[in-house]
Assembly symmetry: C2
Amino acid sequence: MYERKIIPNLNCGFDLIGEVLFGKWKIRLLWFINEGHKRPSELQRKIPDASRRVLNIQLKEHELVTRKIFPVVSPKVEYSLTEFGRTLIPVIAALGQWGDENEVRLRDVILRQV
Amino acid sequence: MYERKIIPNLNCGFDLIGEVLFGKWKIRLLWFINEGHKRPSELQRKIPDASRRVLNIQLKEHELVTRKIFPVVSPKVEYSLTEFGRTLIPVIAALGQWGDENEVRLRDVILRQV
DNA sequence: TCGGATAGGAATAAATTTTTCCCCTATTGC
DNA sequence: GCAATAGGGGAAAAATTTATTCCTATCCGA
């Protein structure tokens, strides 16, 4: 595990939500779990560009998700949002909506600056 | 300027908004400009932990902010949100609000995992 | 019996972002 | 002339995040 060298500052709501939400795949993980895609393999199929590794790591962060292991073979695991994680869903929805509403313009602006 | 080696995927609203919003200081820049702190030096004072450099860079990204130069000495510059940038304000407000509402819990969860 | 699916871990490499350091413009004031 | 102010920029280093590669297991189907 990587040890931070700089302690994050947590001075305001922006800092705080940034810490939990701004991983590359975090939002999508929460979103898809909320939609009912619970198993790791499902999530990996939904987010094929992410490495398995990062998904596993991000799923463990900040107690947004619980992990239930079924003692069967082959292994079965199901993720669910915690109560706390669920409170993020409306916020995430707002983010996705803004992105969708401005899709054309965003695509243009982003690609010009890449 | 750093040249990306991997083209970002822009498949959904989450990708799109992530590209414009998820710089370390981006949200605060937009927020403070919206609050009327327009000059570079003001913004630097509001965000003392950021390096000047990054603020300048992030202010130029994605056409969220316009830069007006006043031809006086010593130099004066004012940033303003573009029409487009302004549409992000409600979204940013929602982010900050969630962070504020969950401040205690977040501080705890984050510091335990740092 | 081999290949694939299930789930995950460790170590390491690569990519990306942010910071640091030093430099430049021009004017005013001492 | 030199420092201060107000605004930037490039190169390189440091920090951080993601991706890659190779491992562990069991079971099912061809």
